[in-house]
């Protein structure tokens, strides 16, 4: 419900939705921009023109049918495995957090991390390809060693929001974590 022109690291607009279910339970959903029909048309047309060009020289109709099959299966695999529609973070105080990302085909991948394993949720900066980005991550600890960070789980990996969005989520999370840890 709070969209003030939030964007991801490449500048595309995203949206953040914060729901407060109760005093110790909050859910944040970051939605990525949808696939644009123009881009799909451009890719399909270019692949088919290329296939027609190859057919023009080789006179082999298998090239055309294989190009059609390739574009169809490629699009299906893309929307099922690659294109993320929205990612959500559900924080339940003293129980744990649930991270879920749902793809454009409807598939959902969910992970639950219990509160005893969570050290903190922080905004960290790291080198990513040719730039330095801010990203929200969960610091995990082993219950036997509470002062050592054992592993890091980055959140919102596909949508990669910018700092203004991350700061909102961070403040909200810390309100719950400071009460219930």
């Amino acid at each position: 419900m709070e969209d003030e022109a939030l964007s991801n690291i490449s500048g595309k607009a995203i949206s953040l939705d914060c729901q407060t279910h109760s005093s110790f339970c909050r859910e944040f959903t970051v939605s990525s921009p949808k696939m644009s029909i123009g881009k799909v048309m451009v890719y399909t047309c270019s692949v088919w023109l290329l296939a027609y060009g190859v057919f023009f020289f080789t006179e082999n109709t298998a090239v055309l049918s294989s190009a059609i099959l390739i574009t169809l299966t490629g699009m299906m695999l893309h929307i099922h495995f690659v294109k993320v529609d929205h990612e959500s973070l559900l924080v339940i105080g003293s129980l744990g957090i649930q991270v879920s990302s749902s793809y454009a085909s409807g598939r959902e991948v969910t992970t639950f991390i219990e509160m005893s394993r969570i050290k903190d949720i922080v905004i960290n900066e790291a080198v990513y390809l040719n730039q330095i980005i801010y990203y929200l991550c969960v610091l995990l600890k082993e219950p036997s060693e509470p002062n050592v960070v054992s592993s890091v789980v980055p959140l919102f990996q596909s949508s990669k929001p910018r700092l203004n969005c991350l700061a909102k989520v961070y403040k909200s999370c810390q309100e719950i974590l400071s009460k219930c840890q």
Binding site: V122, I123, Y128, V149, Q157, K171
Partner: protein, 129 residues
Amino acid sequence: MVENSPSPLPERAIYGFVLFLGSQFGFFLYCLWAYVPEEWLHSVGLTYWPQKYWALAMPIYLLVALMVSLVVLFGINMNNTAPLDSVDNVTDVFAQGQRSDCYRKGGIPRLEDVSISEVNKMFYLSSET
């Protein structure tokens, strides 16, 4: 103890000039070997030299190796960058092993690594004016 400084010195000028003369002479010898036909070299008595093929191949190999090493260096750097889910982005062996001894009241605290939770609280939770 002599200080190490990059300023010009007479010895360095002499070394530089010797290297310059040596490299020019070496290049002249290389051109001589590459251009003089084999029969003349054999007639003088110099028979055990590499094939003339190498006069072209060696510079080309060096240039191609230079181009490839540029790309490979970039690739090695990208490979060695820690991924976003690695603990190396948050802390490391030295930060975890530091001693946090209590300091005297009013004294300057020891220089140490601040944990990322503290840094975050300071940046994002302290009230902005």
